[in-house]
């Protein structure tokens, strides 16, 4: 169970990191694939307006999905932790 949860956490983190990077750096797609340039959307060149839309609505949608998925994962993890022997969780203050 915990192995499955761990893998799920890693996958969620990797997938959403990639998606967030894509939303923030969408202009790179038009540099890597210059053939995509030249179209028009709402009167704007696509290489201008699509990165802007991705950085706003695209990002908001990814954040929404990320929130729902991560919050659901937290519930699963909490359930697992509750099923274990209860113990006080503390954080070490540390020494150099």
């Amino acid at each position: 169970m915990k192995e499955k949860l761990y893998k799920k956490e890693v996958w969620i983190t990797v997938v959403f990191t990639v998606l967030l990077m894509l939303m923030g750096h969408f202009a790179q797609i038009f540099v890597i694939f210059p053939g995509l340039k030249g179209g028009r959307l709402w009167g704007f060149p696509v290489e201008y307006i699509v990165p802007i839309l991705m950085g706003w609505f695209g990002l908001a949608i990814v954040c929404l999905i990320q929130t729902v998925v991560c919050n659901k994962f937290d519930d699963e993890l909490d359930e697992f932790v509750k099923s274990q022997k209860p113990e006080q969780v503390t954080v070490k203050t540390g020494k150099g």
Partner: protein, 545 residues
């Protein structure tokens, strides 16, 4: 005659700013009554709800540059600078995903709290030191901008504007602690959005856009005229490396900005922090998209009117004076000031947290919580005063570019936080060495300190893009390889992560008492990442066109 901003209705401007500051002070005073403990002072009692926090996050991120500098830089670099600006918006979602909720789980006040728990005192001094330097640079830039805003709004000398704006700002920020900073920032974000979007609608209508009713996205019918006036406006002028360099220089740095991370930590719960991230994306996207419209309009305005702008930073204000009534123009400058105030509030709270909580925790570990909170107040006030004093005659190195400082943060701080949260092998000594060595290299190869030793040239070097492409991956690689080596040298065992250090990682990821040595301990991926980083460093060392 070059055009410069001049508001004729000075008293209108005075009234707008006076009303705004009165509201900020009221919020600061009201917040001060809620501040009774360290949790309240540094983290607003871990109580801020998602919508308020989303607004506060957006306000803390959007600085004076959103109203002034960015539009000037769009005038200079045109659309590539828009691409540069778009990626800022992923900082808080990325931060929340990669470590924000983990650190919120341990109830950290700043990222320094985690560094201390994970790496100990020595590393805390190094990392908190870098973060404080960058926060002072950031706050200094905002103070200079606030002084200039008063100068151009009221026609007073810069120094007078700086003292009045600086002290007035410091007053309400110090009064309210993190509660005040949070609620004020949320309110300031609403002002910013209104001040950016609504006046732009009027400007776009007068410029001839049929979609003036929605300035952020509905000006496509102006594109043919824009292309006639500036045929190169939409050109993607640079090669792929320029766009890739945005990641190490400008994405990975802000991920470690303490004043942004602290906004996540103030959330009422981990789930609330994630919802705040969603609202942040909505609100910041609205403001930023309005800002790109202003950049488009600024280019269009200068190209079609033939106006020579003496101070490009003032282009938004010039357009408002040109097209809008004085009251609206004064409100826009009020919005610009709100942007500066919310950011400087976050900067000063971060400095107070780093000093009052993290560094004092190292230097005076037995100090009681109440005394530490008092020191937090003292640090907050003192750091603001230092920023004001530095702004009188700012050292060129410190104000060169806050954008450049993001690369420094990505080099010195980000690897320690990210690998510290996700990799149990991360070694204390390797962190200190990689942070100090690569930080110094970043400073040396920039054009700002030793211009004769510089990687890249022009604006690419000045903004830290060429430097960051070398030192950020180098820092990650050095940290990873150093950790793997030092952990296997008996003489250096004191610096290796202890079992307790490794347990911290499992706990902050939410595993409670369940500890598994294999979790967050994959050396194959770490080595692969180091190899990729070395490759990127080599790529960064190649001459720039």
């Amino acid at each position: 005659m070059p055009m410069e901003y001049a508001l004729k209705e000075v008293w209108t401007g005075v009234a707008v700013i006076a009303v705004m500051f009165a509201l900020f002070y009221y919020i600061g005073w009201w917040s001060s009554k809620k501040t009774a403990s360290e949790d309240d002072f540094y983290a607003a009692g871990f109580s801020i709800g998602p919508v308020t926090n989303g607004l506060s996050m957006a306000a803390t991120w959007a600085s004076l540059a959103t109203f002034l500098g960015v539009i000037a830089l769009i005038l200079k670099l045109q659309v590539p600078f828009v691409y540069l600006w778009i990626q800022w918006a992923i900082s808080i979602p990325l931060l929340t995903l990669l470590y924000g909720t983990s650190l919120r789980r341990m109830k950290a006040f700043t990222p320094g709290t985690f560094i201390k728990a994970r790496y100990g005192n020595g590393a805390t001094l190094v990392i908190a030191g870098w973060m404080m330097l960058i926060m002072v640079m950031y706050a200094l830039g905002q103070m200079i901008g606030l002084g200039q805003a008063f100068e151009i709004l009221f026609g007073v000398p810069y120094n007078t504007g700086l003292i009045v704006a600086g002290l007035a700002t410091l007053g309400f920020i110090t009064m309210g602690g993190m509660y005040g900073a949070s609620y004020n920032a949320a309110f300031q974000m609403i002002i910013m959005i209104l001040a950016m979007i609504v006046p732009m609608g009027v400007i776009m209508k007068k410029m001839g856009a049929s979609g003036w009713w929605f300035p952020p996205l509905a000006y496509g019918d102006m594109v043919p005229e824009m292309l006639k006036a500036i045929p190169t406006f939409f050109d993607m002028k640079y090669d792929y490396r320029w766009y890739f360099a945005l990641i190490p220089a400008f994405t990975l740095g802000p991920v470690a900005l303490p004043h942004l991370a602290m906004r996540v930590f103030t959330s009422s719960s981990i789930k609330s922090a994630r919802w705040a991230m969603f609202w942040f994306a909505v609100f910041l996207g609205t403001l930023f998209t309005g800002c790109y419209t202003a950049g488009f309009a600024g280019n269009f305005f200068t190209a079609t009117t033939g106006a020579k702008i003496a101070k490009p930073d003032q282009i938004l204000l010039i357009m408002n004076v040109y097209y809008n009534p004085g009251l609206i123009a004064a409100f826009v400058i009020g919005g610009a000031m709100a942007a500066g105030l919310s950011t400087v509030g976050g900067n000063l709270m971060a400095i107070a947290g780093l000093m009052g909580n993290d560094l004092l925790g190292v230097l005076a570990p037995n100090m009681d919580k109440r005394a530490k909170m008092k020191w937090g107040y003292v640090t907050l006030g003192a750091s603001g005063l230092i920023a004001i004093l530095l702004a009188f005659k700012p050292p060129a190195f410190l104000v060169t570019s806050i954008l450049w400082a993001f690369g420094l943060l990505a080099t010195t701080v980000s690897p320690g936080i990210l690998l510290g949260v996700w990799w149990k092998e991360a070694n204390k000594l390797a962190l200190m060495i990689s942070s100090i060595v690569c930080g110094i290299i970043y400073i040396v190869i920039s054009p700002h300190v030793l211009p004769s030793i510089c990687i890249g040239k022009g604006i690419v070097a000045a903004l830290g893009m060429s430097g960051g492409l070398v030192t950020v991956p180098l820092s990650f690689a050095l940290f990873i390889l150093g950790s793997l080596s030092f952990n296997r040298i008996g003489a250096l065992s004191a610096w290796a992560p202890t079992l307790e250090d490794r347990k911290v990682i499992d706990r902050i990821h939410g595993w409670g008492a369940d500890y598994d040595e294999k979790r967050y301990n994959n050396n194959t991926w770490a080595i692969a990442a180091a190899v990729v980083c070395i490759g990127i460093t080599y790529w960064g060392l190649q001459p720039w066109a």
